[in-house]
Symmetry: C2
Subunit: 173 residues, 2 copies
């Protein structure tokens, strides 16, 4: 979905001050309240805004260790049943199937390095998992962010308006 500069400012504003409310936001942005409401609805409807749920920090809960675990699976089974079993492990907070030598990449957290060993043992014990190799995150240099992306998407859109023509469209290669 394409977003314009107003959408971008709206997202930035609500990111900076989530408790601001629609009315105050409309004042700050200099548009009608209904406009803000309509924009928010549209962004939510198109899935750009997934929700306003509380963002939980695992480290603050005691899970200070983050690791990325690459799994090799047994060929016999598909990815899905493995993912289903991994989903039963609370410490596995993200999982992707990937290209390359590995079959899956998981983000896991643990209370300590020793605890990480336990978590990895649990993962390796999952049916269909052949072996696991993990790297530990030493520092989170850039923590998950989407605002630069939003700005970029909004600016691109603005460019097309200013320049009067669309940028060359990327198609999947």
């Amino acid at each position: 979905m394409a977003i314009d500069e107003l959408d971008g400012r709206l997202i930035e504003l609500f990111s900076a001050e989530p408790r601001i409310g629609v009315l105050e936001a409309s004042r700050r942005l200099g548009v009608a309240r209904g406009t803000v409401q309509a924009r928010l609805d549209r962004l939510a409807r198109h899935g750009v805004i997934r929700g306003f749920g509380p963002q939980i920090e695992p480290a603050a809960l005691g899970y200070g260790v983050t690791a990325f675990v690459t799994l090799q699976l047994r060929q016999s089974r598909g990815h899905d049943p493995v993912a289903e079993r991994l989903a039963a492990v609370p410490e596995v907070i993200e999982a992707h199937t990937i290209t390359g030598g590995g079959d899956m990449l998981c983000r896991v957290v643990a209370r300590s390095n020793r605890d990480l060993q336990r978590v990895i043992d649990v993962i390796v014990d999952v049916q269909g998992v052949e072996r696991a190799s993990s790297v530990i995150s030493l520092a989170n240099q850039i923590s998950f962010r989407t605002l630069p992306l939003v700005r970029s998407a909004a600016r691109t859109r603005e460019d097309t308006r200013i320049r009067g023509r669309a940028r060359p469209r990327d198609g999947d290669s």
Copy 2:
């Protein structure tokens, strides 16, 4: 920070229905209004709840391709200046320094596989980056989640209360 079962239910409730409000939450949980407010304040103060900002979905913005890029850096320089330059690339939405063969692991998004090539080129051009190897996410089997962790943390805490003694504490190994 340790959380109890009420904290857990509170977080789950606000995750499911963020716009619920303090008053309604107190009704649902069967506690006083002030209690909910105090709990929320405490969770926010301790950093467990980072905020209530909108959660943006890059894919909905047109960034449908996700990749994990492992970087080897030139030994001469530290990680920080590289991270700083990577931060200037909007498509780099996360970066960690890591153990193992690589020096850094980045999560990047792109509009297409062709666009990913462009992003990787930009990353490789960053001063201090020796080489980059990337794996593409084919499917997001488990998308970033923290609720199981919250439940686990709350349950553990509840266990200690029920069983009357603390679990053996994990110290970093």
